[in-house]
Symmetry: C2
Subunit: 428 residues, 2 copies
């Protein structure tokens, strides 16, 4: 029996596990520090109160429960000893015949980790509910203050980073303030909320064709989102952001800029690229270690001279490839070279617009949004989640409502602290 | 214009607000420290991964958005100065012509607040997700340990308090371990989990007729729940509970025993009962302050020699009564006396059994469960929530699944801490 260890239950790790599931001759162990797989492309919907965490997450062990040869363990991997073929987790050590590293990425604050506290990013359920808490709390606090300057500060939202995540987040905040919240507040007009999308480069959505990106920018502007280009954030603190000489006072700052690979890579003792990714060979394995694969956001793989982007499609194709390579090898077949098949890219703006690039086809507006909708529902993990999300979106679409407008604190204890989330309330 | 202040957006406060909504001559302000109304009778479903928080909660300002004369403000009331007719909140002070106090209750640890850390209770979304985290983490940790004694400790669940909340919680854990989880774990058999319901009195569900209560006890036992009667908990710590001379080693201890009224009562300077409740007159007003009403869990009102129980029906009827009294008074009509109309009581055990007492009718089993189902869906706040819950329950009923099996930590920061919930992991 070949012993395969998979670290990480994201898109890549799950795809690899499924491709090895019930295959004779394999014992598979999947380790993840969380008990759930997260459908990250919809995480911005949790952050903007459109969906609940459980709608886009499912226990990894449920997803894989049909495979008799896979066991799932919750735990954090802290180091890999390549030479001993050993993985160190916080509760035990594991040996392997094959190892698939699929730990994904974290946000990168470009060496300013202290900014994270003031500008949460979208990488986990906790991050998303924290963002939701900050957005909703700002509106609540604006409603109860009489000070106009403070109100302006509370109703200013800065999103740093003009990639798909930043665009989707900014669009959803614009839409929420214009439609969902406007009738619920009596003292303030949520429509006056100012949403600023800050991009350091020449334009937002740089991976898309320029024409589509400028269509997206116009769509954003119609939702009241200001798009600031060529703007590098030089400081983030509790009261706002600094952009060169300009200061934006904002109660809510959200981070959707750079990413870096999981820090586990630093224990490998191999060469990493600037973003901490493992540089892998043509078969996705590590140099000198054909039994170790790194996939998804954790690796750097170049195709036609450019590294592949950190998207779900890449991770899934790489996961399946790594699994097939292991199966081939045990069957005595030679290794192949990985080749990514680009199926296109999508980004949505507000409630019924998107942009889509599929092969040579470039689409915007409602049609692109229908494609976006179909693709996201189709790929969402779990039948129940799919039905639930369709159902909630249908209702939200008809009513402009957002069903998950909960401000939830961190501390569950009631005695002692009366305002559980005081510590992290923006601007207080 | 008469200025009415309502403190608290639970069942009582909302009922009062609705009864004053759009009534000419009134300006109503509702203050709550949370932005959402919580349907507490279903909170045990969140704690046991059957529902998501947003399914049973809705923003108070949305619920009341149709009423032009009501404003909703999120903030905590810290004191009431009855003589100055002034309410002190954390962000401003308010004066009133009429005040309705509807702050509800907290768990009482009988003078041992230090137990709360080891035995969370079901009073808030945060408490419920903390309980969910502890239950699910215990199964995950049991799966990854080889130590049989530790496994036994991890798979022991103690619920303290045999009222409806304790019974529903224990039944749901029993059901989850027997049905939902059993096929997802490879190393442990979740069916072997031990659920102990500890009751200090002679029997569980003391407010129900003895015959129904013993039926419920049998139903619990069929789900593997051990019911321990006449057992007083004398100590709760990080490793279990002490019951007289007996020690139960348990990773998960949950609290569903006594309650006490909100601590705001202590600022009133009036006589309180043993549980911190305000003793109110026949019209629910405070002695010497006919303009101040206390309702729901916050007050003690005796009918036929017994204080009314702390249930939603009492709070709602009292809220409507207080509102009507104020309207009557402004219309020159005399005050009436409050009389509670008991519509019956319900408790559910596991997935398809319940007990119901409606007038002289006493029911158990599936029929009682259907009544329970209908009543809870009917009273659930918000049309969307009702549909969603019906939908989720339908699916869960068919599949034995539980859709919200997420272990979510408290810390949203990714850098720095790698195991966000390490601090509070039971038994580690």
């Amino acid at each position: 029996m070949a012993r395969v260890l998979i670290v990480g239950g994201g898109f890549g790790g799950l795809a690899a596990a499924k491709a090895l599931g019930n295959a004779p001759g394999f014992n598979v162990t999947l380790l993840d520090r969380r008990n759930h797989h997260l459908f990250q492309p919809l995480l911005y919907q949790v952050a903007t109160a459109g969906l609940s965490p459980a709608d886009i997450a499912a226990p990894i062990r449920s997803i894989l429960s049909d495979f008799k040869n896979i066991e799932v363990l919750e735990g954090e991997v802290t180091a890999v000893h390549l030479d001993q073929r050993e993985v160190v987790a916080d509760f035990a050590n594991f040996t392997y015949d094959y190892l698939i590293l699929a730990c994904g990425s974290l946000h990168s604050y470009f060496g300013h980790d202290e900014w994270e506290e003031h500008a949460p990013g979208l990488k986990s359920i906790e991050g998303a509910t924290e963002i939701r808490r900050r957005i909703l709390s700002s509106f609540e606090e604006a409603e109860r203050t009489e000070d106009l300057q403070k109100r302006r500060y509370l109703l200013t939202f800065v999103v740093v980073g003009g990639g798909p995540t930043g665009v989707e987040l900014a669009g959803a905040i614009g839409e929420m303030s214009r439609f969902t919240l406007s009738r619920d507040f009596k003292r303030i007009d949520p429509k006056l909320a100012r949403v600023i999308l800050v991009e350091s480069g020449e334009r937002i959505l740089s991976s898309f064709p320029a024409k589509l990106a400028s269509r997206a920018a116009r769509d954003l502007e119609s939702l009241g989102v200001q798009v600031w280009r060529h703007c590098e954030v030089t400081c983030v603190d509790a009261r706002g952001v600094q952009i060169g000489n300009e200061r934006i006072e904002a109660a809510t700052v959200l981070w959707a800029a750079g990413v870096r690979a999981a820090s586990l890579n630093q224990t490998l003792g191999v060469t990493l690229d600037r973003n901490g990714r493992v540089i892998v060979g043509a078969d996705l394995s590590l140099e000198g270690h054909p039994e170790v694969f790194a996939i998804g956001d954790q690796c750097r793989f170049e195709q036609t001279g450019k590294p592949l982007p950190g998207v779900a499609q890449v991770a899934m194709q790489q996961g399946r490839f790594a699994a097939r390579t292991i199966r081939d090898e045990l069957a005595g077949r030679p290794r192949k070279k990985f080749h990514y098949v680009d199926k296109g890219q999508l980004a949505t703006i507000g409630r019924s617009r998107a942009i889509a690039e599929v092969g040579k086809l470039q689409l915007g507006g409602f049609v692109a949004w229908m494609i976006w909708l179909f693709v996201h529902i189709y790929f969402l993990t779990g039948f129940k989640n799919r039905l639930l999300v369709v159902f909630q979106w249908g209702l939200s679409y008809l009513t402009y409502g957002r069903g998950a407008r909960l401000i939830v604190g961190r501390d569950w204890r009631i005695t002692g602290s009366h305002h559980p989330d005081e510590l992290s309330k923006p601007g207080s």
